[in-house]
Amino acid sequence: MTVDADGAVAAPRGSGGLDRPPGPRTETIQLLTPEGERVEHPDYPLELTDGEVKDLYRDLVLVRRIDTEAIALQRQGELGIWASLLGQEAAQVGSGRALGPRDMAFPTYREHGVAWCRGLDPIRLLELFRGVSHGGWDPAAYRFHLYTIVIGAQTLHATGYAMGIQRDGAVGEDGEAVIVYFGDGATSQGDVNEAFIWASVFNAPVVFFCQNNQWAISEPLERQSRIPLYQRASGFGFPGVRVDGNDVLACLAVTRKAMQAAREGQGPTLIEAFTYRMGAHTTTDDPTRYRLASELEAWKLKDPIERVKAYLVRTGAAGASFLEEVDAEADELGSRVRQACLEMPDPQPLAIFENVYAEPHTLLDTEREQYAAYLDSFTGEEVR
């Protein structure tokens, strides 16, 4: 099914001039309507068993629960900050579940749902937001790179990694590919545009997955772009596609296809997952200062979880007992996350000096010794 979206952007051809850029009609790929009705798209056939849809539902509910718990922990002073994924669960779970075990993902700092799909314990994410580490997981073990906070910088890392895949001869049948996440605001960054160019000219196996959640902290999409973001890809010489970012099935199907194309050597794709940041940018933000409550209410009707629930119930694929089971599992996960956060120890002071360099470093070794001696000079109750 094709949905006409934001007609204001899809201006009539030839209107041109300075007022409004001409552009082709905007198409958004959707396979599950907000009402939970399954629709087909000829380019994105998707065969899923009831069990597989139920698994996706479970993922969506669980990652939202992680998010809810983390926000509460921040409010209670247990986390320094939290970047909520509320509203973006389908974009993250759909794309995350489209990845193969050997594919590599490069996240921003909001990809908690993708982290979940890659098997990373949510506690590791909390370490970062609590201030215990800057991340600290092994990217190679999870095929999930560290969170990157500087906007857009990871798109270049992903592109370079994809160039490595090419050099390893791991493109083609049974190939590997990379997916890199970023937001609408990041599309204004030089690094993202450079990554598009490099991926294009080297035909690198990388999928650019842009979650357009409409807001870059307080700045609306109109401050970043005058054309739909996915249409930018054509200027760089590779395909772009817009998907309903609140539709987990469409996100899965579109990402699968793009990843497969990349693995087979067909080069990059830009996916724009059209979604909405339901919460604040982070827990330090106050969206009531810059956006209308009515906008939020409109997006609530397109909730990524409710539509899957409606589908499962309507088709009889799942009953009340399954839904309760998932809710109970979410509660259990929530309390496990909470407990682990509260029990998380602070790092030892001398950890400051660890992992800065791989090889011995005379200056750092000296500073470590001096600070250790300084700490040792405290006795009894003075001990820090």
Partner: protein, 327 residues
């Protein structure tokens, strides 16, 4: 033993690194067919192919950013930044990403990336082609910063940098690219001085003269001239700017009691400031006079018709040396 220009020695070192380790890649603007604007990578693409010696699009941030990704995949990229003044578009990728990746991963990730930067002035170039940004990188934890000054060191140090598991900013003294010295390709790296050690280039007893990169030759010439006037200058080529080899530096200053630091970069906030502070802390009671600095002025690099005034030459170096005996 072969006599080679500094640029040829770097070329030979890069070639050796490419031969020794299939994970080594060379990447940058014009490094392939052209062989680099200073011909440092001449012939490498022809012999190692376009996937290992990569002519990149013209985007410095992406050169470093993709090198980080390649390193994550197990490669050892050697990036060329064409000129010192062009490194700034890549500053975020170097300082915020490359330097911090290992700590961010708690040691799971290793970043063996070498960034070659031709640096310094003296070639009559236009703006942005004569700068000395080393202090910015020496200030950044997570990076190692080295500067070669002659062919012998260039050959060994480029290979040591590539083998190092930490990111290395490798400064090449562009006005010395054509200076010649002996290189022994048969000698293994085992015989070479470790990359993080300074080298005493000339022994002396009256004053220690610290320098690196393009200033080493100027300082040696200054010392030779001073010797004719009866003054004995000990010249030390720092080689490693981060970490500093304080053992060698302080060892010398303790027996001379005087010290001058010379570099092309502006003295304000430069390496000389850090070195002077360290020496003051470590050698205060052996010092006969304050540590002096001689370097660029606190101005942007001037138009090239004025660069002879900006760059410390033999006379300005010796003027600083003289002042350590009068203040």
């Amino acid at each position: 033993m072969t006599v080679m220009t500094l640029s040829k020695a770097l070329n030979a070192g890069l070639r050796k690194a490419l031969e020794d380790d299939p994970r080594v890649l060379v990447m940058g603007e014009d490094v392939g067919k052209l062989g680099g604007v200073f011909r440092v990578t001449d012939g490498l693409q022809k012999d190692f192919g376009e996937t290992r010696v990569v002519d990149t699009p013209l985007a410095e941030s992406a050169i470093i950013g993709t090198a980080i990704g390649l390193a994550l995949r197990g490669y050892r990229p050697v990036c060329e930044i064409q000129f010192d003044g062009f490194v700034f578009p890549a500053f975020d990728q170097i300082v915020s990403q490359l330097a911090k990746m290992r700590l961010r991963s708690l040691g799971h990730v290793t970043m063996p990336v070498t960034i070659r930067i031709p640096c310094g002035g003296g070639i009559g170039a236009v703006e942005h082609h004569s700068e000395s940004p080393e202090a910015l990188f020496a200030h950044t934890a997570g990076l190692r910063v080295v500067a070669c000054a002659n062919s012998t060191d260039a050959y060994a140090m480029i290979q040591q940098s590539i083998r190092c598991d930490d990111p290395v900013i490798f400064f090449e003294p562009k006005r010395r690219y054509w200076d010649k010295a002996e290189v022994d390709p048969a000698a293994g790296l085992g015989a070479a001085l470790p990359m993080d050690r300074a080298r005493i280039v000339l022994d002396g007893t009256d004053v220690t003269l610290l320098c690196y990169g393009p200033m080493v030759r100027t300082c040696v010439e200054s010392a030779v001239a001073a010797r004719a006037e009866g003054r004995s200058i000990e010249v030390i080529d720092l080689r490693s700017l981060s970490p500093l080899d304080l053992e060698t530096i302080c060892g010398s200053v303790r027996h001379t009691g005087r010290c001058v630091v010379a570099h092309e970069a502006p003295v304000t906030g430069g390496l000389g400031a850090e070195i002077a502070a360290r020496i003051t802390q470590e050698c205060f009671y052996q010092l006969e006079s304050p540590v002096l600095r001689v370097g660029g002025f606190s101005t942007p690099y001037p138009p090239s018709r004025l660069e002879d005034h900006y760059l410390p030459d033999l006379d300005r170096v010796l003027d600083a040396v003289d002042r350590t005996f009068t203040v």
